[in-house]
């Protein structure tokens, strides 16, 4: 489901934090990601005691909650921007404010739910929550970002 959107995510392998989208509209996204035990950050954070870094949880929330919706809005033609243009589009985070309530360990699946606050003048702002498989709150906060044209594709 939503394969066309997932295929447009610009991240690869170790920095792609979206497994599945269960719902996507102009106003709302729901998706999930399972933390792989062999992810690169567990070896050092912390040695012998792996805990998912807050910055990675933030990235998961941003990719599912903000980037997929941003791609969807551009693909739908809500903005003047288009994937058909020669420039490459990249999503850039402009601000976040997140609070964390619960640790996430290797192998855990996290569920992200994002609600749009506005999308105007190319800027998307959403309120994003992350919960575990029992619906317990892991993190929540406000995310905003823009999709920028980059002239040269980044190798």
């Amino acid at each position: 489901m939503y394969k066309d959107i997932l295929d447009r995510l610009p991240y690869k392998s170790s920095f792609r934090f979206v497994d599945r989208l269960s719902y996507l509209s102009e106003d709302e996204v729901k998706g999930e990601f399972t933390l792989r035990s062999d992810a690169f950050f567990y070896e050092d954070h912390f040695p012998g005691n792996p805990v998912t870094p807050g910055v990675i949880l933030t990235e998961i929330m941003a990719q599912i909650g903000l980037v997929t919706m941003g791609i969807y809005l551009v693909a739908k033609g809500v903005t003047k921007q288009s994937f058909d243009e020669p420039q490459v589009l990249y999503p850039l985070l402009t601000s976040t404010e997140v609070s964390f309530h619960k640790m996430v360990l290797p192998g855990d699946t996290v569920y992200v739910h994002s609600r749009k606050q506005y999308f105007r003048f190319g800027k998307l702002k959403c309120y994003v929550t992350m919960t575990d498989n029992e619906g317990r709150r892991i993190a929540e906060g406000t995310f905003s970002g823009v999709i920028k044209h980059v002239k040269q594709p980044v190798p």
Binding site: T94, S95, Y118, F121, G122, K123
Partner: protein, 86 residues
């Protein structure tokens, strides 16, 4: 609402986005939001949205793009206020 009155309200809109509050006191019509007030360019959208609520007006994308200096901002707000009342 004259330009001076618009400016008084505009300072209230800008204040949350200015880290160094002392910069608010030095504002003139020539002040640039990004280079002088050090406002994050991504926050200009929030400022436009807050200004819409503050003055009860609607600002279109073309007008929003012009809101670079205090003078530009007041011009746009003045124009939208007058067209809203006519």
């Amino acid at each position: 609402m004259d330009r001076q009155a618009i400016l008084v309200e505009l300072k209230k809109v800008l204040a949350p986005y200015i880290k160094n509050k002392e910069l608010l006191d030095g504002i003139t019509e020539n002040t640039n939001l990004i280079t002088d007030l050090k406002i994050n360019s991504a926050n200009l959208v929030d400022i436009v949205i807050d200004a819409e609520a503050q003055y009860n007006i609607e600002i279109d994308a073309d007008s929003a793009e012009n809101m670079v200096t205090i003078q530009n901002c007041i011009d746009v707000i003045e124009e939208k206020l007058s067209s809203a009342n006519s």
